[in-house]
Symmetry: C2
Subunit: 285 residues, 2 copies
């Protein structure tokens, strides 16, 4: 039975550090504050928003939500986004995406202040993640995976680490974060031939494919570390990951569950970025 | 004996296409023109410059060299760079790097017009290569590797493709270009454990480590495609690649030599980008 990588434990350790940093900023008169920009009211967005607000509150970080009507024009949307971006009391911005189909997100990803871009959507931060420049913000999910690796002291240096998935939200930026830690990275995806063999050879396997329980027991080598980034609903209507947990848990040395795994850490990363943004923007590094 | 991947053949095929495109642009009164910015007169830079000028001439592309004194101030350098950048008759800029130690390249990488950034040094183009947006320019060397793959019709889709090296000049952008073509990519580097085994399993192996003859016969699987991006000098003072050619040629199905391999294609990619920049900037796409 592999050791279960519990998101809550990782988040608790992060919280402890972030509370201290936030207190120090407050002593200097700075209240770190997250600005959430939401267009419409999708249930998914609302659920994540509730979790994020709660996380910020727990740490002592402020939170301002700008809710915009679903039928807002591009011009109005950009104007509203600009107001949040220019607000000196807001140190980080989370924009829920995808936007409604009639809106174009590109102008705001280019306009956002790179130090407020706490979810890493601007070209500046994307380029920094690619080059390995740690002054940039990576998207929250891949960084949550790294927090998990660190908390459980997973040795990455020189190891065969395989990522299933090549999205800009997880797979690609995660590969770059892993490479920065000197892992030998392999990126698999839907077109990969011999997926099973390639995954089985990995010492660390990260599943970010978005396909329920696609990682079977045969895809995991003995003693591998298995991190599951997937959030899916199975045939029974229950939340599940990309990993067939029951089939894999005996082979893995470490395994992250879904729910209560990586997903429980992402809003802590968001908080970490907001605190970093606040320190930077107020010149208190 | 593997089939030798000849840079000159790839360049000749590219030239044919580029001459036609250049002629069409000239019919519309547009003369594609490369602006070279060189600080000082390093022999390496001068050698590459000669090759680039010759390549541009052969295609019918103009070339303007701005030579700046080695002891130029940052301010003067930026001013001169700006003049080239703002010159409407120049459609692509090649800046020789590294710059002298007292100069900072970052301001010009941020200022360069993304469509004139034919060597892919600006954050905009770096981000585009990472996201897989083909409107961006990749650096010339990794794109030269892709031209080589295409010319020799190497099947990349779903294949195990391993890149040795993780630089921003070759390894990382090349991995993204390969991923875009649906290869399963593995990136190895100096910290990789079991380098030999990992390389031997590759169906396509690209060496961009910058270490003379480091790819031995034992690192190449039977029938693998081996592309050598290295340019080194061996103990005898001769130019050589990262691959021990003599030891590998019998195992490889295709193999690119050094010299006369990938290095002979990079200036053709530069020309391709200048022609693309000219078409774009003049609105004649």
């Amino acid at each position: 039975m592999g050791i279960v990588m519990k998101g809550a434990d990782v988040a608790a350790a992060m919280k402890e550090r972030l509370v201290k940093k936030t207190e120090r900023l407050k002593e200097q008169g700075i209240l770190p504050c997250l600005g959430i920009v939401r267009v419409g009211a999708r249930p998914d967005d609302l659920a994540y928003e509730r979790g994020a607000r709660k996380r910020m509150e727990g740490i002592g970080i402020g939170c301002q939500v700008t809710e915009l009507p679903e039928d807002i024009t591009q011009e109005e949307f950009e104007k509203e986004f600009c107001r949040v971006n220019d607000n000196p009391d807001i140190h980080g911005i989370l924009l829920f995406r995808p936007l409604p189909a009639h809106l174009d997100e590109e102008p705001v990803t280019e306009m956002i202040h790179p130090m407020k871009d706490v979810d890493g959507m601007s070209p500046v931060n994307i380029a920094k993640v690619f080059t390995g420049d740690e002054t940039g913000y990576a998207p929250c999910t891949p960084e949550a995976v790294m927090e998990m690796m660190d908390y459980y002291k997973i040795d990455l240096r020189g190891k065969r680490v395989t990522v299933i998935g090549r999205s800009m939200v997880v797979g690609k930026p995660l590969s770059m974060l892993l490479l920065k830690r000197h892992a030998t990275i392999t990126v698999c995806h839907t077109r990969t031939e011999e997926l099973e063999r390639t995954c089985r050879e990995a010492e660390v396997l990260v599943a970010a494919a978005g396909k329920a329980k696609m990682v079977s027991g045969g895809m995991v080598g003995d003693g591998a570390v298995v991190v599951d980034v997937g959030i899916n609903v199975d045939a029974q209507g229950s939340l599940c990951g990309d990993v067939d947990y029951d089939a894999v848990q005996d082979k893995a040395s470490y395994i992250s569950p879904v729910p209560r795994g990586v997903g429980s850490v992402t809003s802590s990363v968001l908080a970490k970025h907001v605190v970093r943004g606040a320190a930077y923007l107020s010149g208190s590094r």
